[in-house]
Symmetry: C2
Subunit: 391 residues, 2 copies
């Protein structure tokens, strides 16, 4: 297989955006084109979940390829729920690794905040099993709530640990211009203050408001290219060195041990093995914290910490910006925001900035190996990516 | 790039199917697994357009991979409107060509006949440009109607030519057990009989009822594999020898010459060039006849006939089962049916049967080179495939 590099990235603010979905997508694409010097694009991948259901726009890639004046380049829309973004990057990787394309633009985009016909929790619940979960009233927050309760009982995670994830990620987002939430919070403020029950109500016990990511619009882009193209550019060489993907049972209740996220474990192992690294080699990671509990559990499943000990590492500050393995320097889904189709590409965007040394106040010192985990459904389809800065 | 082979195919009837979408998809997958001897599957691609909008099932591949007990294999849903099927085959091709996967299962599936929340013409209109077309009342049949009128005026195509496409494809479908329509028709019956205005009413002048494909549920599957896997099987070797994809303006009105389908022309040229063949080398083809006019125009744009002369070749019987280049031996979208996400895979299914010599009464003699054209939107995203039987 040929080697694959990230030669350009772009992003919109993750927030409420009142533009057509195709134009939201094209914006981050244009930002990436600008910084990559407008290379010829052989194929466009667009990651999106709700275009047809929410925005009356099916075949989104066919619209964006025209919005960006990239016709007649081929265009493909990837819909893997919240894992759409990294799934599209994986397909772009294959396009270049195979020798078929010299360049591939990967855009993730979603517009889901204000839509006519479908409430956002109902929309996201289309990821659950229609016969084994949805008809019994299951939603993603309710699955996450039950999962969190089990995890608390089994491993001793407390509400304070969950709040620490939120506090850390909100703090990181303060230095990210494109983040959805610029709101510093404290554990005391969201758990102990007299207003906490009002300002931080329960969403799905034990998960509260500040344990859940916001509903965001937005897009992000990464342009991939062959070594030949990448090496002509006057920029740090960021290689997409490993890709991994794994699935698990569609219905969470069918898992032998529901507190294990086996798809995360497998996808991470693949992405690290292909890159020739171990968990301890990673300098900065973006994990899929749609709910605070997920950052803790994923930090274990990808191998940064032992199973059941992620919350202890968090407590010791090991995942903060100056810790052993900084997690979600961008603010994560929790504070940067979660436009579902865009999220996986947004994670890659952050890692590319970090490895280039362009992350400003949230820069992790000497970061040369970065890692992302993009989580679909309730862990039924997971894609992990390893990026390495070449010297 | 490594060579890629089709080692197994499966299909459901294209008809009204009252099963969950994921189970409709899994059925054709199982048929393909059975005839391929249940190979290990490295990655599952599922092509689908309306899962989230129509069936409350986003991330369909994540559901199907579990229904088929293929976890923890990676799974990816491709949504390129009616071109989803061949788009997914193209991505599967890249997965194997790159060396990443030894096998890839590609399923196309749609359930769109009886749905709660969205009428089918309205659903399909989500492929049009939301600002330049849809808000002015454009639907796919209306675009096709305007396109047909222009083509008639420019090239002398008549309503009788359109009817001839329908008659031919209905006749072919009589010998296809899995076809939606088993209804022999005649030009006299649908155009000249006293009942014609009742039985064959105008849908979008000049297109009438029998010029339009039915709305179908269904799925189809093709399993792709590397040469190493394929050559161990005791079966004719069918190589996916060429893939091509091209896009055109999203809004049809923006095309310099609206009667040209440039994306078809380009995608076909790529798919033939990669396979090292010319249009005259093709023995059997499946073209995307969602409307009768499209079969005529595509037969020109892919290079079988000169521009503006497709209807004359049709008149001479050159596209019939015993003609020079038999088109839509399966019955085509017109009579086999058009479950949008499944269609491109259904086309590949027919070509694999033909090249194996397993097409029964509709077998084209000595077919060794087959070709498919899968058409998205109104020609804004087109994927063509060339299959060659190796001796």
């Amino acid at each position: 297989m040929r080697e694959v590099y990230a030669i350009g990235v772009g992003i919109t603010s993750f927030t409420r955006l009142e533009y057509p979905l195709s134009e939201i997508a094209a914006y981050s694409g244009m930002m990436a084109m600008k910084e990559a010097g407008f290379p010829n694009i052989a194929h466009l991948y667009v990651a999106n979940m709700g275009g047809c259901a929410l925005n009356h726009q099916a075949g989104l890639a066919s619209a964006v390829v025209d919005s960006m004046s990239l016709t007649p380049a081929g265009a493909t829309t990837i819909e893997n729920g919240p894992a759409s973004g990294a799934s599209a990057i994986l397909q772009g990787f294959l396009g270049i690794a195979s020798g078929m394309y010299e360049t591939a633009m990967v855009i993730g985009a979603e517009r889901m905040r204000e839509v006519d016909n479908l409430e956002s929790t109902e929309f996201v619940a289309s990821l659950t099993h229609p016969l084994a979960e949805y008809i019994y009233g299951v939603t993603l927050p309710s699955l996450a709530g039950m999962f969190t309760r089990l995890y608390m009982e089994k491993y001793g995670v407390t509400s304070r640990h969950l709040a620490m994830v939120a506090v850390k990620n909100h703090a990181n987002a303060m230095d990210n211009f494109f983040a959805h939430l610029h709101e510093p919070i404290t554990v005391a403020g969201i758990l102990d203050s007299p207003e906490a029950m009002t300002n931080n109500p329960y969403v799905a016990d034990p998960l509260r408001f500040y344990d859940c990511c916001p509903v965001s619009d937005g897009s992000a882009c990464v342009i991939l290219a062959s070594a030949e193209v990448a090496k002509k550019m006057n920029k740090p060489l960021i290689r997409l060195a490993g890709v991994g993907q794994a699935t698990d049972t569609h219905a969470v209740q069918e898992r032998e041990e529901p507190t294990d996220l086996l798809a995360v474990r497998r996808a991470a192992a693949q992405a690290m093995q292909m890159a020739g690294i171990k968990p301890g080699d990673v300098h900065v990671a973006e994990l899929h914290d749609a709910f605070t509990i997920l950052e803790i559990v994923e930090s274990e499943e990808v191998g940064f910490f032992k199973k059941g000990e992620g919350h202890l590492a968090l407590e010791r500050g090991e995942t903060s910006l100056t810790g052993k393995i900084p997690i979600n320097t961008s603010g994560g889904l929790k504070a940067k925001g979660h436009p579902v189709g865009a999220t996986g590409v947004g994670q890659a965007h952050e890692i590319v900035l970090q490895l280039r040394g362009e992350a400003g106040k949230r820069q992790v010192k000497n970061a040369r190996v970065g890692f992302t985990c993009n989580f679909g459904g309730f862990g039924n389809n997971v894609v992990c990516l390893t990026f390495i800065r070449e010297e």
